[in-house]
């Protein structure tokens, strides 16, 4: 066991000497630990909006078919989906709510 601890110690020293650990820390950018980069962030935001719209519209459409109120719940679902999309994008940029 002692031998292994010594190994970990030397490994850490060697990594520090070559600046490997610091690079790993910088790479884990973004509040949530997801890879950063403006292009990736933009794509993520777009996908969040589109998927919230899909979820809202699908929910409205299914409820419409069930209740026979064709266009109304679908339109409501579209509005809710848009709102949820904006909420998703806000959550993307807002700091994560931590462990209370």
């Amino acid at each position: 066991m002692n031998e292994q601890n010594g190994f970990e110690e030397r490994l850490r020293e060697a990594r520090g000497r070559h600046g490997l650990d610091r690079a790993a820390q910088e790479q884990g950018s973004g509040a949530s630990g997801l890879p950063g980069g403006s292009m990736g962030l933009g794509l993520r935001a777009g996908i969040e909006v589109v998927s919230a719209l899909i979820a809202g519209v699908a929910l409205g459409w299914v409820l419409d078919r069930w209740l026979g109120t064709f266009p109304w719940l679908l339109l409501l679902g579209f509005v809710l989906g848009a709102a949820a999309g904006i909420l998703n994008v806000y959550r993307l940029f807002a700091p994560r709510r931590g462990i209370h």
């Binding site: 949530s32 997801l34 890879p35 809202g56 709102a83 709510r97 209370h100």
Partner: protein, 251 residues
């Protein structure tokens, strides 16, 4: 297959074809299912061979297996916390399946099953059902308080609750679309530039010289696709852990 005549068939590569003759056709066993089985076999082989030696100083295979294992374990523990270890096998399985699916699709004649929304949505739906069941089992009916943040004025409830529900339902959709769109986009680009090579190659000497351009681009794209394949498997796994964190702690 790539460029018949002068048209570019960029989407033909995603067509499902039954394999294994008549038996495969009658049960709908496509090349997609075959590649899934292949991937499962490859992962099993890698892990079995990797941990077979159990050396203190790991060989190459063991080092690869151990670093994959520790990579996901560190991620799950840092995102979910100590109690997240219970969900590590699930996240590890998902990660390996998607990673191998993305990477195996880059080989010639291979098929990328992660480029089908049916596959990615099925994976995302499993995650969605799991996080909902975990939240319900750990917190019971308090889970529904998740849809109404504490401290918000009560008269806003008719607006906040539907929006939060739609936002919650959009999780599997965004999870599946992200993976599917990335894989489709990459393979369509590869196909389009590969078609350019063939089409330019048919235009005599000058065409053959110009065709070096798309060929070089495709070499770069393959490297980029390896990165994207790894990154998307990572993103899928880390988003699963973030959702698990929400389910376990329920803020």
């Amino acid at each position: 297959m790539a460029a018949e005549g002068s048209s570019i068939d960029a989407l033909g590569q995603f067509e499902l074809v039954p394999v294994f003759g008549r038996i495969g056709a009658s049960v709908g066993f496509t090349q997609s299912s075959a590649h899934m089985l292949l991937v499962v076999g490859l992962i099993t082989l890698l892990l079995m061979a990797g941990i077979g030696a159990r050396a203190v100083i790991p060989g190459r295979l063991q080092a690869l297996t151990e670093s994959l294992y520790e990579f996901i374990q560190d991620m799950v523990v840092s995102q979910v916390g100590e109690e997240g270890k219970r969900y590590f096998p699930f996240v590890f399985t998902l990660f390996m399946f998607i990673l191998f699916g993305n990477l195996i699709g880059l080989f010639p004649f291979a098929f990328t099953f992660t480029s089908h929304i049916a596959v990615t949505f099925a994976l995302a739906a499993i995650v969605f059902v799991l996080i909902t069941v975990v939240a319900l089992r750990l917190h019971g009916l308090k889970f529904f308080g998740y849809f109404f943040p504490e401290g918000a004025p009560l008269w806003l409830a008719p607006i906040i609750i539907p929006v939060e529900i739609v936002s919650y339902l959009s999780r599997p959709v965004s999870l599946s679309i992200r993976l599917f769109a990335n894989m489709v986009a990459g393979h369509v680009m590869l196909q389009v530039f590969a078609s350019f090579i063939v089409m330019l190659g048919g235009l005599g000497l000058i065409g053959k010289i110009v065709a070096v351009g798309p060929l070089a681009l495709n070499v770069v794209l393959i490297g980029f696709e390896i990165l994207v394949g790894f990154l998307q498997a990572y993103v899928f796994a880390i988003l699963t852990s973030i959702y698990l964190h929400d389910a376990v702690h329920l803020h």
